[in-house]
Symmetry: C2
Subunit: 341 residues, 2 copies
C-alpha cells in the first residue's frame, strides 16, 4: 500500500506534512511518497534524521498551487504542481491513494480532472467527520458543490453510508436529510424533492429529516446537505468553538486568584475535551465519488492531522470504499435520476 | 405605548409569559395587554399578587395554536386563537406591537395575514441577534423563507441595516453576504446573483461576502442569508453550545476532587460566560417587513426573555423601524427587482 502525499499543501508545508508522513510510516503498514520540491522535502527529512527509503520516498514536483489562484485554472495550467503530480501517481496505479492538505478547491479540481468520477456519480462530494454525542457524525457534502440537485443529494446519501459503514465501522448507518423541520413536506425545494428519493433507496437506511441541532446531538450517523450549507455550517462551528474557548479564557483571566487556581485544576479535563472536539483527530475529509481514494486535509493541518489522514487513506483503499460505492450506485440505478429537477 | 403579548405561546405559557409582562410593566414605560385564556391568565396574576390595571390588562382569546398544527391553516381556522387576537389588536391600532412566544410558523402566518407586508417587501424575514466578538451580530433571514430569491436578499439587507442602526445603535452597520468564500464570484447561484445587487444599494453599507466563521467573529454587524441556511445555522449553534457545555461538565465529573474544587472556583466566570452566550438576553427576534412591530420569541422563553422581548418591541415602535424600512425600500426602488431571477 502506497499513499501519495502533497508535501507542499497547507499552511505548515512542507515541515509538518513530512513529519506526519514519517510518523505514519512508523506506525502503520503502508508506504508514503512525498510529492513536491525535493530539495525542501529532503531538508526536512535530514532535520528529522530520517533517510529516504523504499517506504518513504520523494517524487519531485516543481510547481505549487497558491491559495489565491483559481483552482480549476491553476490545475490545468500547472501540470507539474505537487497536487497534480500526486493525483497522477494514483491515476497511473503507482500509488493507491492521495492525501491533499491545503486548498479544498484545488484538491477537488485535481481529483476530478486526474481521477475522474465513478460511473453514475455526477457530483463527488466531501465527507467531514464531526464530533458529536454519537462519537462522530458525518456531514456531507461539506463544500464540493454549492448548487446541488436532488440527484446529487441521493449520491451523497449513498456515498456517506458506505463511508460510515467501512471507515467508521457502523453496521447499518442511519442517514438524515438536513432540513428545518421533521415533516417530509418541510424545507426548501431541494429538500422537498430529495426526501421521497431517499425514501426509495434500497441500499441505505434513511432516518428522515434532521435539524441543525441533530448534528452535535448525533441523532444520525450521516447528515446529507448541499455543499453550500455544509461549508457554512463547518466554518460557523469552527468559529463558534474558538469564540467560546476565548470567552472561557477571558472570563477566567478577569477573575481572581482562586479562579485561576481552579482553572489550573480543571486543565486536564479541558484538555481531554479539546481533544474530543479536535476535528484533526479524525484524519481529514475524503472526497467521495472519484475513481480512487482521495483525502482532503484542512489547510491548518499539523503533523498529527496528516498522519491520521494517511491512515484513513489506507483504510479507504483496504476497505474498497470506492468499489462499494460503485456497486450501490449501479444497484440503485442512480443514473436514471434527472439531474435538472 | 401598548404591547400585545400572546400569553398562551411557548413551552412555559402562561406562567412565565405573564411574569415577564409583570416585570416589563414595572421596569419600562409601556403597557401590556395579555392575550389568551382569561381565567388562566388571571390565576397567574393572582398567584403573583398583581392586579389587572390600565397598564396590565387582559384580552380574552378562547383558542390556542398547538405546536403540531399546520401554521397557515390553523391561523385561518382558529379566528379566536391568542396569536390571531393579539395581531388583530395591533392591526386595529389598539396596540402598537405584538410579542409572540412559541411556534415561529404560526407567528409568521399570523403576522403576514393580520398585518400584511410593507409595500415593496415581498418576503418579511426574521432577524436574530447572535452573540459575537462584536457584541451582537444580526443574522437574517433566520427562518421565515426557505427559497429566497436575490430580491428577498436585498430586502433582508435593507431591513437588517435599519434594525442594527435603530435597535442596536450602530451608526453605519456593515452588511455581509453569507457565502463560502470572499470573492464576488464565489458561492451558489443565489449568492452570485445577490452580490451585485447589494453593491448597488445606496442606503446600506455593503461589506462583501463573509463566511460561517465571520458570524461568531463579528466581522460585520449584519449577515444576510437565505432562511433555510439561517435556520440550520441557528439550531446547529444552539446544539453545539449545549454539546460543548455538557462535555465540559462531564470532563469535570470524571476528574478528581481538585478539579471539582477548581470548577467551583471558576463557576462565577462560567456563569458570566453563559449570560454572554444567552440569546434570550437580547429579547427575541423581530419579524421585519410586516406593517407593524412584531417580535417572535423562542418556544423555550422564560420570564426574562419575555420581558426583554417586550422592551425591544417598544423600541421598534419608538424608533419607527417599520417607517425607516418603508422609506428605504421606496428609495431603492426594490419593487423593480425581478423576484423570479
Amino acid at each position: 500500500m502506497k499513499i501519495a502525499v502533497d508535501a507542499m499543501g497547507g499552511d505548515y508545508a512542507p515541515e509538518e506534512v513530512v513529519i506526519g508522513a514519517i510518523n505514519a510510516v512508523k506506525e502503520y503498514k503502508l508506504d508514503v511518497v512525498l510529492v513536491g520540491d525535493e530539495t525542501k522535502i529532503r531538508k526536512v527529512l535530514q532535520d528529522q534524521h530520517v533517510k529516504e527509503s523504499e517506504r518513504l520516498s520523494i517524487a519531485h514536483a516543481s510547481e505549487v498551487i497558491e491559495m489565491g489562484e483559481h483552482p480549476a485554472q491553476a490545475i490545468r495550467k500547472k501540470k507539474d504542481a505537487s497536487i497534480v503530480v500526486a493525483t497522477r501517481l494514483a491515476r497511473d496505479g503507482k500509488c493507491d491513494a492521495v492525501v491533499a492538505p491545503g486548498s479544498t478547491g484545488a484538491a477537488v479540481a485535481a481529483a476530478l480532472l486526474g481521477l475522474g468520477r465513478i460511473k453514475g456519480i455526477e457530483r463527488p462530494c466531501i465527507a467531514t467527520p464531526i464530533p458529536s454525542k454519537r462519537g462522530i457524525t458525518v456531514l456531507l457534502d461539506s463544500g464540493a458543490n454549492s448548487n446541488s440537485k436532488p440527484k446529487h443529494m441521493v449520491e451523497a446519501a449513498i456515498m456517506g453510508s458506505h463511508y460510515a459503514k467501512y471507515i467508521l465501522g457502523i453496521e447499518k448507518p442511519q442517514i438524515g436529510l438536513l432540513n428545518i423541520g421533521e415533516e417530509a413536506t418541510k424545507g426548501n425545494e431541494l429538500c422537498q424533492q430529495t426526501y421521497p428519493l431517499l425514501e426509495k433507496l434500497k441500499t441505505i437506511s434513511f432516518y428522515g429529516n434532521v435539524e441543525g441541532r441533530d448534528i452535535p446531538n448525533g441523532t444520525v450517523d450521516v447528515v446529507v446537505c448541499d455543499g453550500f450549507v455544509g461549508n457554512v455550517i463547518l466554518k460557523f462551528g469552527e468559529g463558534l468553538g474558538m469564540f467560546i474557548y476565548q470567552l472561557v479564557r477571558d472570563a477566567i483571566k478577569r477573575s481572581g486568584f482562586i479562579a485561576k487556581l481552579g482553572a489550573m485544576a480543571i486543565y486536564p479535563a479541558l484538555k481531554s475535551l479539546k481533544k474530543q472536539l479536535d476535528f484533526t483527530e479524525y484524519g481529514g475529509a475524503p472526497l467521495l465519488g472519484v475513481n480512487g481514494s482521495f483525502i482532503i486535509c484542512h489547510g491548518s493541518s499539523k503533523a498529527k492531522a496528516i498522519k491520521n489522514a494517511i491512515r484513513v487513506a489506507g483504510e479507504l483503499v483496504e476497505q474498497d470504499v470506492t468499489g462499494h460505492i460503485r456497486t450501490s450506485i449501479e444497484e440503485e440505478e442512480v443514473e436514471q435520476y434527472d439531474s435538472e429537477s
